[in-house]
């Protein structure tokens, strides 16, 4: 076997493993190919599946007056997409407008009640655990991935590596840049603190959608 074939094969097996492990951690993984397809997927998710209900999750439960008040601050359906290139943001925004959804790239602090979808790019995918690595020094990006109901994360297939140790050097670079913030994200937010029953979405997203793109 030639060297390049070997590399290709090991890349393929990292990709397969990434998909398998991410799914095992309750992420939804779809190979969409292009950015345009990712946008369609996201709008479709917002329209046809449970996301983008007017009320964010938990707001239909009996709450204390203060918690109710925070719920009330969310008035429309919103997709938050900080840190996209301007071309990409425009494309997403125009399609959101067509569908009557709000689309923002900043101002997350006034959206703490929750946004419907956080739309981001992952920096590395770790095959061994199905983990996304998100370098997110900017707080808009961090908040978009935390206060959203659904997190949609695009990942270039070329960015998938075998295990965390293969990402070590890149992490070192992130962290040596001065102030930095990096997150490993594997599946949705979860807890088992009540009777050890696995429950999704305690603080962060209720669903994690990983969209694989070519580049």
């Amino acid at each position: 076997m030639t060297k390049s074939v070997e590399i290709l094969e090991s890349k393929q097996s990292d990709l397969d493993r990434f998909v398998e492990k991410a799914r095992a951690a309750a992420a939804v993984v779809t190979d969409v190919g292009t950015f345009q397809e990712a946008v369609s997927y996201t709008l479709n998710l917002c329209g046809s599946r449970g996301a983008c209900r007017l009320k964010v999750s938990g707001c239909e439960e009996p709450l204390s007056p203060n918690a109710e008040d925070l719920c009330e601050t969310k008035q429309g359906k919103i997709i938050a997409a900080p840190h996209l290139s301007s071309d990409q943001f425009e494309l997403l925004e125009s399609q959101c407008v067509e569908n009557g959804f709000g689309c923002i790239s900043s101002g997350m602090r006034s959206q703490l009640a929750g946004v419907d979808i956080g739309f981001t790019y992952g920096d590395i995918g770790i095959a061994e655990t199905g983990t996304l690595v998100l370098n997110c020094p900017g707080e808009e990006l961090r908040l978009a991935t935390m206060v959203c109901e659904y997190h949609v994360c695009l990942l270039a297939k070329s960015k998938i590596v075998k295990d965390a140790f293969a990402a070590e050097e890149q992490m070192r670079q992130f962290m040596n840049k001065g102030p930095n913030y990096t997150a490993f994200i594997t599946g949705p937010s979860r807890t088992a603190d009540i009777e050890r029953v696995l429950t999704i979405g305690v603080h962060g997203p209720l669903e994690l959608h990983i969209l694989l793109v070519e580049e």
Partner: protein, 718 residues
């Protein structure tokens, strides 16, 4: 939090915990599920190797702790963090309280930190007038209930959904349902608003990476991401033991940590925070960020040759998950703030002898924790060592001293055992069980029938019994241990018959005494050493290939603890090594050395099962030998559920905590009965005593025997 003032009160607390049915059921289910899912989580890996990596790295980090701290501080401060060092809990709390005042914070949101539990930080902040909210769901629940955690990873594992339902009804002022999913959503909304309001976030840290000045925080809920992002001030409190050299080192710990803690390949989130990162609401849009390192007894521990290994603890909580005592009484009783095996040790160093005095006695020495520890820490040994320290500092209790005095003198000890035979005469039945319990020792022991001391100990039978072997294959020295010598000599006789069939020449050095484990269990270390030396001397002149014992506890103690006990006498080093390398348990000897075959036995197809003594399966790592032997000897072997969980004997433990011992026994017997076996075999006379007594008390027809008896009885007559 366990705070009993006396052992008597502590025992009462244990009894009260035993009465909590929900807790018992929850922890039982957890213990069983955990073992299975942990095995799955590690399935692709060599666990020993992964743990070995952590051990090597942590030991190395400890050697250069000061340098790591300096490096971390330089890097972190270079990126805009203020790094603080606190020598004890009060100092750490004062630092954080000062930061809150200086930055004019009013509301604090916290993510989970055992270190903040350790310093009781919340009390101090609340006294300062701050509103403090825990954001980890479990922590929030126990905070609202004004309780401490009952598990290091799952702090509210002791509570039912109904208790949470009532609690949340109070908090929201509206009636909640008992639907867990809905309760979690309520917490999501209630806490989101707390996040939005907070001006200070307090987190712990799982790693402090020196090369970059980064902290790593491991969570499933993602609350640490909000705690470290939303408030304008962030304080992270961590022990100095969290320092690691590189990111790779943190990743190595992570790989074991989550798999060992919750059987997850990784948690949903791992958050890496470096420097004064962006924060919209801080002046200059830079987070006001402080890392507080805590000593609080850690350096004292690190300087101690025995206790320094505690530094390897990664706080996975697994030592509680597998502890049979934790499973019975839960974390509020099996811990002060830190819980389970590690809790018994840390309580002494972090919170002083008062918090540890009673706790350290509540270990049955089953070694389940040691077997699973992510840091490869010899937890049971350290628990005993803490116990010994406290006794040395405060004086030894009388029964413990007496036992020590008696045991130091083998002749006196043996004479007492012989006279016990007469003392029990009026109350012994003809079936080998005592009707009443004459010995003060055993006053709470009525849950199992106790055996009587044998008419003639094995040492008296030996001179007549010793077989003449013409062409010996092996020469073996027999080590009987006190129970087989004086209570169950028939087990020794069975072994002699079996071995003789296979041309094993045997000797029985008369000067051997108790192995010394009971002394170790009562933390009588000095006498334990004396007895070890006597035994070493007794076998010194014997020219034998193996020293065989039928008692798994003796074998593991002789093999693993003697080198430690006798290590100060350098002249003995070679002798000890020669001695310990010869020690082997009966099943391994018969299975691995004699390699008996099916043709050697007359099988009868009896349905049998096995209880694996702690010191056999974990102490010696022997799993298959006894089970294979039963099959080889033609029996129908049925594996019982939880065959490798402690039977509750634990030597002197069953005298100190009879109620707990009893519960462990009941569970064991249920599992055995469920197999439908006629005979229960085990490889330890102590376990035989516990199990046979328990069966007798139940009126069960299941026979309890030593494995060697089962083998000897099925020998093909030559």
């Amino acid at each position: 939090m366990q705070e009993a003032k006396s052992l008597k009160n502590y025992r009462k607390e244990c009894r009260d915990s035993l009465g909590n049915d929900y807790l018992r059921k929850a922890l039982d289910a957890f213990a069983v599920a955990y073992r299975k899912s942990r095995a799955n989580a590690f399935a692709e890996f060599d666990v020993e190797e992964l743990i070995g990596d952590v051990v090597a790295m942590k030991d190395d980090a400890l050697q250069q702790l000061d340098a790591l701290y300096d490096q971390f501080k330089e890097k972190a401060e270079g990126a805009g963090v203020t790094v603080h060092y606190a020598k004890d809990a009060a100092e750490a709390n004062a630092i954080i309280s000062r930061i809150a005042k200086e930055t004019d914070c009013k509301k604090v949101i916290k993510s989970k930190s055992m270190t903040a539990e350790e310093t009781l930080l919340n009390h101090v902040l609340e006294d300062d007038g701050l509103e403090v909210t825990e954001s980890d769901l479990g922590e929030w629940i126990i905070q609202l209930r004004h309780e401490g955690p009952s598990h290091m990873v799952m702090p509210a594992i002791h509570l039912s959904r109904y208790q949470v339902q009532d609690l949340f009804s109070d908090v929201t002022g509206t009636r909640q349902t008992d639907d867990i999913e809905k309760l979690v959503k309520v917490a999501r909304r209630e806490l989101r608003q707390k996040f939005a309001e907070a001006d200070m976030g307090i987190s712990g840290a799982n790693f402090a990476v020196a090369e970059t000045g980064t902290i790593g925080i491991v969570t499933n809920e993602g609350n640490a991401r909000l705690v470290t992002t939303l408030p304008r001030v962030h304080v992270a409190l961590m022990g100095i033991d969290k320092l690691v050299p590189t990111i790779g080192d943190a990743l190595r710990i992570l790989k074991v940590l989550t798999r060992n803690a919750t059987a997850q390949a990784i948690t949903s989130y791992v958050t890496w925070v470096t420097g004064a990162n962006e924060c919209e609401t801080s002046p200059g849009r830079k987070k006001d960020i402080h890392f507080v390192f805590l000593d609080n007894g850690r350096r004292e521990m690190a300087a101690d040759p025995l206790f320094s290994q505690v530094f390897r603890c990664v706080r996975c909580g697994a030592c509680a998950n597998v502890c049979p005592v934790y499973r019975l009484v839960g974390g509020h009783t099996m811990g002060h703030i830190y819980i389970g095996a590690i809790g018994l040790i840390l309580s002494y160093f972090y919170h002083g002898p008062d918090s540890a005095r009673n706790l350290v006695q509540n270990c049955i020495n089953c070694e389940a924790c040691k077997d699973i520890c992510a840091g490869g820490i010899d937890l049971p040994r350290l628990i005993k060592a803490v116990h010994a320290r406290i006794q040395d500092e405060e004086g030894h209790p009388i029964p413990s001293l007496l036992l020590g005095m008696i045991m130091k003198n083998r002749k006196l000890f043996h004479t007492l055992l012989r006279t016990a035979k007469w003392a029990q005469k009026p109350v012994a039945g003809d079936d080998g069980f005592m009707r009443h319990l004459p010995m003060i020792f055993f006053k709470d022991h009525d849950f199992k029938a106790l055996p009587t001391v044998a008419e003639k100990p094995f040492r008296d039978l030996w001179p007549k019994l010793k077989p003449a072997i013409k062409n010996p294959r092996y020469r073996v020295g027999l080590f009987s241990g006190c129970v087989q010598d004086f209570v169950y000599p028939e087990q020794m006789v069975a072994a002699v018959e079996l071995f003789a069939d296979h041309d094993v020449e045997m000797s029985f050095p008369m000067k051997q005494s108790c192995c010394g484990l009971p002394l170790q269990m009562m933390a009588e270390m000095k006498t334990s050493r004396d007895v070890a030396l006597q035994n070493l001397r007794a076998f010194e002149k014997e020219n034998v290939d193996y020293i065989v014992t039928l008692c798994a506890s003796c074998a593991s103690h002789l093999k693993h603890n003697y080198p430690e006990l006798l290590k100060d006498d350098l002249k003995l080093k070679d002798k000890v090594a020669a001695f310990t390398s010869k020690v082997i348990d009966m099943s391994s000897f018969v299975h691995d050395v004699l390699q008996v075959r099916a043709e050697d036995f007359q099988g009868d197809g009896k349905k049998v099962t096995f209880h694996a003594p702690c010191h056999l399966c974990r102490g010696l790592g022997v799993h298959d030998a006894p089970r294979n032997l039963m099959k080889t000897a033609g029996m129908d072997y049925q594996e019982a559920a939880e065959a490798e969980v402690c039977c509750g004997f634990g030597g002197t433990y069953s005298a100190k905590f009879p109620e707990l011992s009893r519960q462990l026994l009941e569970k064991k017997l249920d599992n055995v009965e469920a197999t439908g076996a006629d005979i229960l075999f085990t490889d330890c006379p102590g376990c035989v005593m516990q199990l046979r007594g328990g069966m007798k008390k139940r009126g069960s027809t299941i026979e309890v025997k030593h494995t060697v008896e089962g083998l000897a009885e099925r020998r093909k007559k030559k």
